[in-house]
Amino acid sequence: MATVTGEGPTLFLRKATGLVKGWSKFDAFLYSFMSVNFVTLGLFFALAVLGYVPTGQVLPALLVSGIFVTFLVVTYAGLISVMPRAGGDYVWQSRVLGGGVAFVLAVTGWWFILWYWTPVYATILNVEVLQPLAAVFKWNGMLTWLGTKNGLFVVCIVTALLAGFLVSLGMEGYAKVQKYCFYLGMGALAFIMLVMLLGSRAGFQSSFDSESTRLFGAAPGAYQATIDLAGGASALPAKIGFSPFLGDSLLLIPFLCFWILWPNWGATLYGEVRGASDFKRVMSGMMYGLWVTIAVAVVFLLLASKFFGWNFFNAGNVNFINYFYGYTTDPGPAKVWTYPPLMVGFFFKNSLVSAIIVLLFGAWFLGWAGTLFLSSTRVIFAAAFDRILPERVADVSEKRHVPVMALVLMLVPSLIVSAFYAYWLTFRTFILDATLVIAVTFFGTAIAATILPWRKKHLYENSAIARYKVAGIPLISISGFLTALFLGFNLYKWLWPPFNSDSSNLYAINVPKSLYFMGGMYLLALVIYLIAKFYRKSQGIELKAIYQEIPVE
């Protein structure tokens, strides 16, 4: 029997429910692109920390990350193709690794750690929208208050309520919001990149100096003072470059993961999979989301180096990050983060122009904020349907179709974690925990994908991807293995040596308190699972029966 991919005799279809004609690649791209959000996660939490590895080069680190995340994309597209309606990591892992492991990894990665993401989202709202607006309009009292612990906590509450509201809109309503946000955000990004291309560094330096004086009362020479505060040129990455010898650039990858690891976020395929073309369509949506983002980032970084100056770009970032985490008390001559769109706004020396740019860039936040609770809601529902969580947590209000209990289970712990984040500076430095716990979940899925062709032979062989092999080895096993390798590298970097009490270590999350925080989440998940297991058993329900395969013959 010879097999090739391509046109052959076509199916005859009759009129029947569910026979849809696929979906637009652009839509699939859009959700992936908004998840690997260049402006929110990229600019602040990933590209703003380059100064901590002065000998590293971001471009090769980004390229290597992109290559390995590509394997993650292939892995997830493969799993979606094998089990399309499964709803993600939880069910994939349940089928391959077992219900207990799957529950613990899924609820920690897609539910519990999202509590920590609430203040992460809030921080973005604060430093990319609220504080810049307060700054350009010289609302000094507001600017100061937003920078306080109380101010941050209130922004966390606002963010949690906003995310809850977006969930209550329903995905159909939010999808429209997201699309508008995409166009507005991209338009704004194109505009500032054009300014960065055509504008001169001297012009920016002069504008920054004068705007820092006008808005914050900074002494003349704010541009140089910003670099000096960061330790001067010798303490900062020398210049943007591209060396094939990775060296310390590898150390940047665990930071970049905070931003670049999510092209599969919310990747769910509905409907009926006809074949390999669906696998390719799902994969290409995520792939474009990932690589367009990387392309945008590369162009942006080159322009940032040209327009702001590489030293200034990194110095402004380092100053603010040091201040934000409580390592220093001086944010720099500009009292806010040197958020690139705001800096481009400074170039025009006009508050209104700056405000418009900042507001348009707010679309990147709005188009992303709705994702905060959506995935958690899905996992909570799936666990309730599997009888691990009480049935009531999947209740949906009849009038508005809002998952009330699931939202409560997200909102209340989120606010508690937000309070820790706002009022305890050390807790803020555990920021990479937010990525690590999800990376562990992805790691479990990558392992499940690697062994799927052997563990669930029938399921795999019945799928469209069973024909994709490299040297006789299933493609999904190869991509799953390489994904696990990549995630394993990052986990090693983040965690090793464990229980290191030196808080100055690069990623700051292998300290005891961070490990206790994460360990507590895994313990909580395990306890919930064990209670459910024994409680359901007393009711005559065996949880292991959920994924037991019925014999065919």
Partner: protein, 317 residues
């Protein structure tokens, strides 16, 4: 018998592997009765075209296969049937003729669906005769009317519809394969007012909610058992399939709300596996992953004496 255990699946759509699992599920889960709620038949035919040189060519999941031997043909046909499609062996000329003539396709569809259903009924007979497990299979909106007779005349497999409730050891199961309109204009769908009348007519056969089970193919509107991806006019997904909306039936919802049966079993929306409480009624949709050969099901234990659902579980066998 203190409890009766029901194994409920729906929307198998011709998947042979799922049907085989269904027939084994009674013994596997120690169920007293196994129920296929609706949508028995497949949606697609896969032509296996014989060329002049005697070789066969076919395409499945976008992979084109050239088949030489009878063993290869049979292996391919098994793969096709496991996904819920019907393999048909045709000559080049037949294939071309079918491509140009919708009536020929309809005629062939009717043949393969009836043949397929007959084969399934025979398999049930072979597998379960004398085993003491009741097997019920009901038609729904995607099933053409011709299979009703086939099911009605089966020896082992029982069937029911809105005019023929089924007694389940003292409980009465009322079935309704008709649904509210879909974008595909399938065999058994009608506007909500007409569907409501049909439901009311079916309910004249039952009086006691505590001994009544609904097997209504369409899920209740807005129950979270009916969330499907929103579609554009041309039947492509809106927003990459991310935009979900309730598409269930308001008539079914109203009937469940007002009658309050002990249990309400649904299907139709494959993506919307779940459980919901509507008043005192437990409503379930096990969903369907028939193409992947996964038998999604609801296992429900009913306490006969207390007339209550003792427990339930949604499984993926």
């Amino acid at each position: 018998m203190p409890t009766v255990k029901i194994f409920f699946v729906t929307d198998l759509h011709g998947s042979e592997i799922c049907w085989k699992k269904f027939l084994n599920a009674g013994a596997f889960y120690k169920a007293d009765v196994v129920i296929l709620g609706g949508d028995v038949t497949g949606k697609a035919m896969v032509p296996i075209v014989q060329h002049a040189d005697g070789s066969w060519e076919a395409s499945l999941q976008d992979h084109r296969d050239t088949l030489q031997t009878e063993a290869e043909l049979q292996e391919f046909e098994t793969r096709v049937m496991n996904r819920g499609y019907y393999p048909i062996r045709v000559s080049d000329e037949e294939y071309r003729a079918m491509q140009e003539d919708a009536d020929l396709v309809d005629k062939r569809f009717k043949e393969v669906m009836l043949d397929g259903t007959a084969r399934w009924l025979d398999m049930a007979e072979d597998k379960l005769a004398g085993k003491g497990i009741r097997v019920i299979a009901c038609p729904a909106n995607d099933d053409m009317f011709e299979i009703d007779d086939q099911l009605a005349h089966a020896t082992l497999v029982e069937t029911g519809d809105e005019d023929h409730p089924i007694d389940l050891d003292g409980f009465t199961m009322v079935s309704m394969g008709w649904t509210n309109p879909t974008p595909w204009h399938t065999f058994r769908e009608e506007e909500e007012p007409e569907l409501a009348v049909r439901i009311q007519r079916a309910l004249t056969a039952v009086t006691d909610p505590s001994t009544t089970i609904f097997n209504f193919h369409a899920p209740p509107y807005g129950s979270k058992l009916d969330n499907a991806p929103a579609l554009n006019e041309d039947l492509t997904y809106k927003s990459g399939g991310q935009a979900l909306r309730p598409v269930g039936s308001t008539s079914v919802r109203d009937a469940v709300k007002s009658f309050q049966p002990l249990l309400s079993l649904h299907g139709h929306i494959h993506e919307s596996k779940g459980a919901a409480r509507i008043g005192s009624t437990l409503a379930l949709n096990p969903g369907s992953s028939y193409e992947e050969g996964i038998l999604q099901a609801a296992v429900v234990n009913i306490d006969m004496k207390k007339r209550k659902v003792k427990n339930y579980q949604l499984v993926n066998g």
